[in-house]
Symmetry: C2
């Protein structure tokens, strides 16, 4: 067993290792490419399959009754999504910028349950992180927190990519895209970041960024 899935032990597991293990155990499945904006699964589709992001970004969304979109999560290369309860998907999944996705069939192999537990916990942590960011008061704090989260998940060095567009960030943070834009301007003016291109953030002062995140 690659991973100790006992919740009472250290669960700082390597998600990649779990995925590799699950892929080995299941039937091999081809990577399918989803162009920008393509739907991977729809709200109401039969649930029960997991997906691995091979490359690109996937967003998990939901529409409110008044037509607004809430983005529930972003998933990057190596991450697993599709984890929902019930027989039907409550959310729908879309490719953000062109994504390669591999299906992960796990039915029938009971021994994988502990691996699945680890993945579920992984999702739980992400949901908690999202809650914390959503709970922040000001728009600047939310955007700063979002960038910090992106740094943690994507970047090692001082330039981190923002593959999704402003509208996506806004729907993820519960803001409008104009407010996201203004918040980024504040972060620039405070000297915390530089924005060389629309989809890149250069970190100038990490401490300042943490401070602005509240």
């Amino acid at each position: 067993m690659l991973v100790d899935t006992g919740f009472h032990h250290d669960v700082t597991f390597n998600s990649q290792a779990i995925v590799a293990h699950l892929l080995d155990a299941g039937q091999p499945s081809a990577t399918t490419f989803h162009p920008e904006g393509a739907i991977i699964y729809a709200d109401g589709d039969r649930a029960g399959r997991l997906y691995v992001v091979e490359f690109g970004v996937v967003r998990i969304c939901r529409l409110t009754s008044d037509g607004r979109r809430q983005i529930h999560a972003f998933h990057f290369a190596g991450e697993v999504f599709g984890f929902e309860t019930g027989t039907e998907h409550q959310f729908y999944a879309e490719s953000v910028n062109g994504a390669g996705v591999r299906s992960l069939r796990t039915s029938g192999s009971e021994a994988l349950t502990s691996n699945l537990l680890a993945l579920a916990l992984n999702g739980l942590v992400k949901a908690q992180q999202h809650q914390l960011v959503l709970g922040r008061r000001s728009a600047t704090e939310k955007v700063a927190g979002f960038i910090l989260d992106m740094i943690e998940r994507l970047g090692g060095d001082d330039i981190v990519g923002l593959p999704m567009q402003r509208n996506d960030i806004a729907d993820y943070l519960g803001l409008t895209f104009e407010t996201v834009s203004r918040a980024l301007r504040v972060l620039r003016e405070e000297g915390a970041v530089r924005v060389p291109t629309v989809h890149q953030i250069e970190i100038l002062d990490l401490d300042k960024l943490h401070e602005l995140a509240g």
Copy 2:
């Protein structure tokens, strides 16, 4: 097995049954009573134990660096909490109004993993619900959504209890307690609810309440 924990099947499980099963399997442990405001576990404490709420309400909290409190979840009788990853608790748990809590030792019994998976999924669903409420725009929508959530989790009939105080609701929804109070007044004026006592909400018009929730 009481519960089908395969995520690819129907997971509309009975949480109570899982808890009963886990309690049977583990060593018996006494119910400890935590008076109002008492800390059940603190931020930074060693994690790895699950707790069952016997009666009362427990809140899971976190302090931001500027001293504000974010309430991550409420847990009622029959629910399990303490599910976190890592060796240390990221949150702290407090009794809201006097709560009886039973510790749930699960170490060593590998057969329980699938039950734990079910509980983790349960927590994931709650976190998602919370995200949806936090993502709503207006304060009235948030409070209406909160009441609907309470109806689902607590009440069968037309009167639902709000055991926690306004400040708790505010910290859960990312609002101030004054705004919560005003939102309740709007719900009253719209004829959706009545507020006989501070800790009770009488549902007058459930459709209207859904409508106001957005």
